[in-house]
Amino acid sequence: MSKRMLDARGLHKSYRMGRVNLHVLRGVSLSVEHGEFVAVIGASGSGKSTLLHILGLLDKSDKGQFILDGNDAAKLSSRRRNRIRCRDVGFIFQFYHLLGELNVLENVMIPAKVNCSTIGWLGRRRRAGTQAIELLDRLGLKDRLKHRPGELSGGERQRVAIARALINKPKILLADEPTGNLDSKTGLRIMELLKTFNDAGQTIVMVTHDRNLAAAATRTIGLRDGRLK
């Protein structure tokens, strides 16, 4: 596999707040190879989430080129973008973003359901179910399948979010401060988890403000003043 997983060149992003123009990303360039575990470290408000959203096709950059798995983001139709988001990218949000009406298992299954047509789902339902349970088992949530997110601790919620991000076996996992809201011990446990997934070949890009957590990564990059250093 000679192609890079991800290739970003000179990404710019700014937010207009009234008259003030907040220039968050000022020419970010980043390449990630298959199987890498990259940690981007930056202070709060430095634009880590913004960058990760662009990398996950959840947002668009103002300027610059971004190629994800050989697809030029600027040239993708919205249909293709949806498809890539669904199949190739797993995203762990900074604030979990689980659906409160669904239980743990259903939350994890959402991307699998989105991935299928109604008829396709009827055929795949059982397999997707066992896969989800397997995944949750590996994350230590086997006896929590029927719980609602509101009944879980922060660490448990984060693990559900990780399961949801991994259910469609994405090519790249984007993690936005996966341990940000957790105590350091739980945080370390999550990091170990990510490390085992990476060891199994999962490409991961993680952003964090905690240098200690970055140790698990194969490569660490700093984000300062809108640029990677």
Partner: protein
């Protein structure tokens, strides 16, 4: 796949979804109730007004009335082929005395078989209910059997009431029921006596004929004298106690103190057929006299009738046309000139001509055209008949135009109800819209998640459109069912409320009808279901479109 799943999940788990369903149900029920009652009232008013005076009415200008009415009717039928039937009517005022009660009444002089072709007069009658040939002379045995049935009804109400425990029993009601039963019983006895005496009379007549037919030598003159005497006696008694058809009166059901309704809605008559009634009438027909001496005549109550218009039923009695014409001095006056005996100086008059138009021309727009034709017929007839021209009748009016005068208040009520209805439906639509908007707005973060894991903007919209549709359908189904049963049982509900809280919401003295209309139009229900669906869809559509357009990140960051 996820669309349906999430849609159903929101329906089941969102507390707000329940609120939305309830809100839609309440709005739909409310509008259904208001519209049904409103339509029902309108329908009843129109129906009653039409049943009261026919399709087109010609009023006399002055109190002296319309002359040559019979000739005019013949001419009119010829001239305006759309006319199906027409009949003269006299309206006047007088005093009605039954027993010790006196009521001021509007007296309506009608020709009975004739009037039936013009207006309905067979609905809701005591004896001749639903009869095709309503008259002032229904068979006596019907009067008796009807009175007996009425006594059974009273008896059953008495039983029901007296079986209640002491504190629940309505003594005042019982008292009135006993009085009514008493009256009916007495009336029944009287009617039976009349029937027997009529048979006796017939027998004696035959005996007399047989006796008279005998040859002169064999004839018993003493027997003939006795028979004749006896017959005279009986005839006199009958004439006093059960007057001939021209001296009969049909009461409006609703005259004060003549009937009452029990809390359960049964109508109990205190005055039943056979009762003697005295009418005192001012003879306003003669324009020339300076002092007016009232005419008084005794009648026999033969039936009672209802139009459903309380203001009519509570003060109207019906008597034969020719009789009232005489009592109001509206009959023909003959010339005082002794050289010309039998020459009519002033022809007989009526106060109103009621016209029935053939059903094919009875729609509102066609009726106006026919009315114009009637008007020109009036003018033409007046040109050739000086008597008629002497007091040209007013322009003809359609029943709707006439109704405006009759019951102008209902028009105002209609306006109020229309405004009310408009506001209610607007509020309902806004409420449905607001709730759906709120639900979608609350779920924008979820939309972001679904979008982030690959859901399309359209798919996200479908979730909420499905949700809106389902909520609206469920809500309107509940609302329509509830509203339907409410309207159907509105009179019972009102009775129940008045029993519990002691307040009559629907005061029969104030409103026109003695019952609240309780019909529900299927079309109204259909429209409401469609309306609720549209309101629900619009309610979700706007926020759903807004959410669909957002970048996933925007949706995720949405607070």
């Amino acid at each position: 796949m996820y669309k349906l799943f999430l849609c159903l999940r929101y329906l089941r788990r969102r507390y707000l979804a329940l609120v939305a369903v309830v809100a839609v149900a309440l709005c739909v029920a409310m509008v259904l109730i208001v519209v049904s009652l409103f339509d029902g009232f309108l329908y009843k008013v129109e129906h009653a007004a039409r049943g009261l005076c026919g399709d087109i009415v010609v009023d006399g200008y002055s109190i002296s009335g319309i002359k040559l009415y019979d000739e005019f009717i013949v001419y009119l039928k010829d001239e305006v082929p759309e006319v199906e039937a027409a009949t003269p009517v006299i309206y006047t005022y007088g005093l009605l005395r039954v027993g010790s009660r006196t009521n001021t009444v509007q007296i309506c002089g009608i020709r009975l078989p004739e009037r039936l072709a013009v207006t309905q007069f067979q609905r809701d009658m005591f004896v001749q209910d639903g009869w095709k040939n309503t008259s002032f002379d229904p068979p006596l045995e019907h009067l008796i059997s009807r009175t007996e049935r009425h006594m059974e009804l009273i008896e059953s109400i008495i039983q029901r009431e007296s079986s209640k425990p002491d504190d629940k029993r309505d003594e005042h009601l019982l008292h009135r029921l006993y009085a009514a039963e008493n009256n009916s019983a007495r009336q029944r006895e009287m009617l039976i006596t009349v029937s027997l005496l009529r048979k006796t009379l017939e027998m004696k007549r035959r005996e007399l004929q047989a006796e008279q037919a005998k040859p002169a030598g064999l004839r018993n003159d003493e027997k003939i004298r006795q028979l004749t005497e006896r017959m005279e006696e009986v005839t006199e008694w009958l004439g006093k106690n059960f007057r001939p058809p021209e001296k009969r009166v049909i009461l409006g059901l609703g005259l004060a103190n003549m009937s009452f309704r029990t809390p359960d809605g049964d109508t109990v008559r205190l005055v039943t057929p056979g009762r003697r009634a005295v009418l005192t009438i001012l003879p306003l027909g003669r324009g020339s006299s300076t002092t007016i001496t009232p005419n008084t005549a005794t009648f026999t109550v033969i039936d009672d009738a209802r139009t459903d218009l309380y203001i009519i039923d509570s003060n109207t009695v019906y008597v034969p046309f020719e009789t009232i014409q005489e009592l109001t001095d509206m009959g023909a006056e003959y010339s005082a000139d002794e050289d010309k005996p039998g020459v009519i100086a002033i022809p007989a008059r009526c106060t109103q001509i009621q016209i029935k138009i053939k059903p094919a021309y009875a729609s509102d727009s066609k009726l106006i055209k026919v009315r114009q034709k009637v008007n020109s017929a009036i003018k033409k007839f007046a040109d050739n008949n000086p008597f008629f021209a002497g007091a040209i009748p007013a322009d003809a009016q359609t029943w709707r135009e006439k109704q405006a005068k009759y019951i102008g208040t209902i028009e105002k009520q209609r306006a109020v109800v229309t405004i009310m209805f408009g506001v209610i439906s607007l509020v309902s639509v806004l409420m449905v819209f607001a709730i759906f908007h709120m639900i979608v707005t609350q779920k924008i973060r979820d939309i972001g998640v679904v979008r982030a894991v690959g859901g399309s903007a359209g798919g996200v919209m479908q979730i909420f459109l499905g949700f809106g549709t389902a909520t609206a359908m469920l809500g309107s189904a509940i609302g329509l069912t509830g509203g339907y049963f409410f309207v159907r049982n509105i009179n019972e509900i009102e009775d129940w409320m008045s029993n519990w809280f002691g307040v009559r919401v629907y005061d029969r003295e104030v409103y026109l009808f003695d019952k609240i209309p309780n019909t529900v139009e299927p079309m109204t229900m259909l429209w409401l279901a469609v309306g609720a669906l549209v309101a629900g869809l619009i309610g979700v559509l706007l926020p759903a479109i807004k959410a669909g357009r957002m970048q996933p990140v925007e949706a995720l960051r949405y607070e």
